[in-house]
């Protein structure tokens, strides 16, 4: 993952800044329908650019591709460094894809302050892209923090719940608390680099560049300290149990569009696989850390599933199922073997389709009954057969039925977990059973059986825009479920390089190639 292919054309910068430039253009437009269609155009162009990057991406390669690098603040060693590799490129595509769907979804569900909403949405897209594209840790941190501002406004201004002010503030304060610790971790990495560079009389005094930081050995005690600092930052964001308490509030109180982005894009766990594990391989391997993190992951799987079982509100259920799924991802990551890492990465992408998809379904339900409480539903399959069908497809993907994308990811994670420690795998399996239970139970009570008393008989089935969302998600779910190899091929090279880095044998060879590169 240390090779770098420089871009001929700064396409990543275009992807990064197109939405925010679009947001500024939106400011000048007054007509609401114009605003909607312009936002959709911008999101579609963004998707086209991302698909182009995905198509031109060289699979089975560990190289950083489409790289761009400009010095930003040389005095502090901060640069503007963008690139994608097998780990991040799929997230770029996913972000663009989900943004298009969110814009389509918001078309007629958002009725007041449409322009500001769309501007916030586009700003959020830029910051999310920035998190996935940045290779400089400060640049990464900038986007990581900036994401809070549009999110805060989205939850506060367009949230449906009565407690949305509390939820928005809680979300911002929790994430900020985590990220200040992460900032210390980042600064320590920089200081470590500085000490190493001054010993070796390198001309770079400071650096926050991931690729440069990777070349420097870090003492074990420092690694452990930095690991925990960065862990806090990522764990609050992910959120890893027990830092998850903001998530149900934010997802329930915020608008559906925001929930899709928050629950669909696994930024926190992306942080682990992008920064923590490669930068701090020895700490990540150490027994204490693996045990603590994996146990937290297992707790999350069981606790999340258990809590989801008793939630009468569908969005709260989804929030807890999200916590449970993140537990799987964490367990897979810290199995620290090929299958585990690959499975976690694929699961993160899968959740972008299935969890986000279920939030769209929640939105469809909400727009019909003005609530997602279970009591408002019952036996709706006859009334709305299409909605019920897509609900089932996406839901089954979320619980990992074979043939859907969820199965591939969870299977790989469990494989990795069993290979690492048998007891971890066997506890994690329980989560799959619980997952099936809470989803099927809710589905049965809301869609099947006799018609619920409060269900209107005039309830309409999926509209055109809703169909577009449901169908495109289902296509992706079945595609990854039945033919995952294009996706796995894209990530293989980078995952392999990460495994090599973790298991020292080939590290020497890697370092050799770095010195040649310089």
């Amino acid at each position: 993952m240390l090779e770098e292919l420089t871009a001929v054309f700064p396409i990543l910068s275009c992807i990064l800044f197109l939405p925010v430039v679009g947001a500024i253009v939106l400011w000048l437009i007054d007509d609401e329908d114009m605003v909607r269609s312009s936002t959709l155009t911008i999101a579609l162009v963004e998707l086209a650019l991302s698909v182009f990057v995905l198509l031109r991406f060289v699979p089975e390669s560990a190289a950083m591709q489409f790289a761009e690098r400009v010095e930003w603040i040389p005095a502090l060693g901060i640069s503007y460094h963008l690139a994608v590799d097998g780990i991040s490129v799929l997230f770029v595509g996913l972000t663009a894809f989900l943004s298009v769907l969110v814009v389509i979804y918001s078309w007629d569900t958002i009725r007041h302050q449409v322009k500001l909403y769309m501007m916030c949405l586009l700003a959020l897209e830029t910051t999310t892209m920035g998190v996935f594209l940045s290779l400089d840790l400060i640049l990464f941190f900038v986007f990581w923090e900036l994401m809070l501002i549009p999110s805060y406004f989205l939850i506060k201004l367009w949230g449906g719940g009565a407690d949305r002010h509390y939820a928005a503030l809680k979300f911002v304060i929790y994430t900020l608390l985590g990220s200040v610790f992460m900032l210390v971790g980042i600064a320590l990495l920089d200081i470590n680099y500085h000490q190493w560079a001054s010993l070796h009389h390198s001309d770079h005094a400071y650096s926050f560049d991931l690729l440069e930081l990777l070349t420097v050995p870090i003492p074990m005690s420092q690694q452990i300290l930095i690991f925990w600092l960065m862990f806090l930052g990522f764990a609050f964001k992910a959120p890893v149990f027990p830092f998850h308490t903001w998530l149900p509030d934010a997802l329930l109180e915020g608008p559906i569009g925001m929930a899709v982005v928050l629950a669909g894009l696994k930024l926190g766990t992306f942080g682990f696989i992008r920064f923590s594990i490669p930068l701090l391989p020895d700490a990540s391997k150490s027994d204490t850390i693996v045990t603590v993190v994996v146990v937290l992951g297992l707790c999350a799987i069981l606790y999340g599933a258990w809590m989801a079982l008793v939630q009468p509100d569908f969005r709260r259920l989804l929030a807890y199922s999200s916590v449970s799924h993140l537990g799987f991802v964490v367990v897979g990551l810290f199995a620290l073997n090929y299958q585990g890492l690959q499975g976690s990465l694929l699961t993160m992408i899968n959740l972008g389709f299935s969890t986000a998809g279920l939030f769209f379904i929640a939105g469809f339900l909400y727009s019909r009954q003005q609530t997602t409480e279970l009591s408002a539903f019952g036996g709706m399959a006859k009334q709305v057969p299409l909605l019920a069908t897509f609900f089932l497809i996406i839901g089954l993907a979320s619980i990992g039925l074979p043939g859907t994308n969820g199965f591939v990811g969870e299977f790989l994670i469990l494989l990795g977990a069993f290979e690492a420690k048998w007891w971890v795998g066997s506890i994690a399996v329980l989560g799959v059973i619980f997952g099936a239970a809470y989803f099927l139970w809710y589905y049965e009570r809301s869609m099947l059986g006799p018609l619920g008393s409060s269900v209107k008989s005039t309830m309409s089935d999926l509209q055109l825009r809703e169909m577009v969302i449901a169908v495109s998600l289902s296509i992706m779910i079945l595609w990854i479920g039945l033919y995952p190899s294009p996706f796995l091929r894209i990530m293989n090279g980078s995952v392999q390089a990460l495994v090599d880095r973790l298991h020292h044998d080939k590290t020497a060879a890697l370092e050799q190639s770095i010195t040649e590169r310089r």
């Binding site: 506060k156 304060i173 900032l183 400071y206």
Partner: protein, 498 residues
Amino acid sequence: MTFVLNLSFSDLLLLLPEIFLTCWLCVVITVDFVSPQLPKDRLAYLSVGGLLATLGCLAWFDVNQVSGTLFGDMFVLDRMAIFFKIFILGATILVILASIEYVDRFTLFRGEYYVLVVMSALGMMFMASANDLLSVFVSLEFSTLGFYILVSYLRDDLASNEAGLKFFILGVFAAGLFAYGISLVYGETGKLVFSDMTSTQATPGLIIGFLLIFAALGFKIGAVPFHSWIPDTYHGAPTPVTAFLSIAPKGAALAILLRIFLVALGTFKPTWIYLLVVVSIVSMTYGNIVAIAQRNIKRLLAYSGIAQIGNVLIGLAAGTKMGNDAILFYLLAYLFANIGAFAVVIAVSQAIGRDEIEDYRGLGRRSPFLAFSMLLFLLSLAGVPPLAGFIGKLYIFIAAIKEGLYTLITVGLINIVISMYYYLIVVKQMYINEPIDPSPISISGPMKAVIYVGLAGTLVIGIYPQPFTDWVVAATLKFANFVAPAATVTPPSLLIGS
């Protein structure tokens, strides 16, 4: 000490900005007396013109690296002094432009207001160059004299009078401490110039003397526990004066603190680091926690200012060239965000007549421009990327973490989270709550200019900080020679976390 005064013309060149500004001050006051019918905003523009010319002269000094000392080292003009002078002049210009409308509220002596502001600025310019305990004392009192009058300028307003009285009594008390400190230090060392004191022994008299001096300067920058005057004075003073008070004297006093701690006391770093760590932690925590409870925007900014000074002191505690650079950079970021925030406060209070945070209800609807500017200024003060405040905080933290001050950093970071809470309270009022009176707010031309400058500074320093980091690094380059012995002293092991 023998004092030989032989000034050549080239020596006087070093004093050119101050001499020019003094003459200009006389011109402004004469114009005010000669033609009392002249609209007072003309006087404001006249003062700004003089300040701009002085600024240009200093910029010329900076580019051509003019430097030197005068009056037996009492007055030093190095690039750091030039930096602080430009800083002070910039703040003064913005404050004058922001006052033009506000001055109509004064019943008497509207013209003299500008003269007093420029006079205080002149005093602070001398502070930036003071390199000797006596010149520090004289210039400090000179600049504070103007402030004593300015704070109580709203003659009929009880709060303003109370503010003036509090500021005056505590200010005089601080001056007394300062004079006593000087006498002790002089008694122990027999020296007044900072750079002569470098290798003296730490005797009890010297320690007490410097503690007293630190207390007096701590009073100027408003660090806890010398902050008690700040909330009431900021609250009662005319808002432009509050804005001025929250920036310029802090900058000037920090110039002196840097010279005292890094030059005169450089070798005692292992001792004074504890003092600074404690004061910094207490300032940040106290300022931020008390700010949460505030209902008045000026009081909120006062407490946030106390917390910001705590952050600045982190850089001083680092005690290295990098820490010094970081302080200068932080002050630049703070200048634009704070002046901008106060400009918005002035604009809102011109329309509404009150400064309660409640009055900011629905500002996003009433004036999107003011609300958005305020949002950016507050976020910059909180340290949200990619605004100037973030880079400033990052710079300071990196400087401190390099010295192993982990305790300090942890407290600083937790404080960022706390501060976010009360800044968001204001944001919530502006954007979430509906306005009671939805009529739009009009903003005058000069005020708009100030806000635009604040916005430009906040954004440009945040997004493209390169020229500014270069500037602060160059500003302390020569100054760093003095710092060298201190930098070799390792920080005490107690503060190293791991």
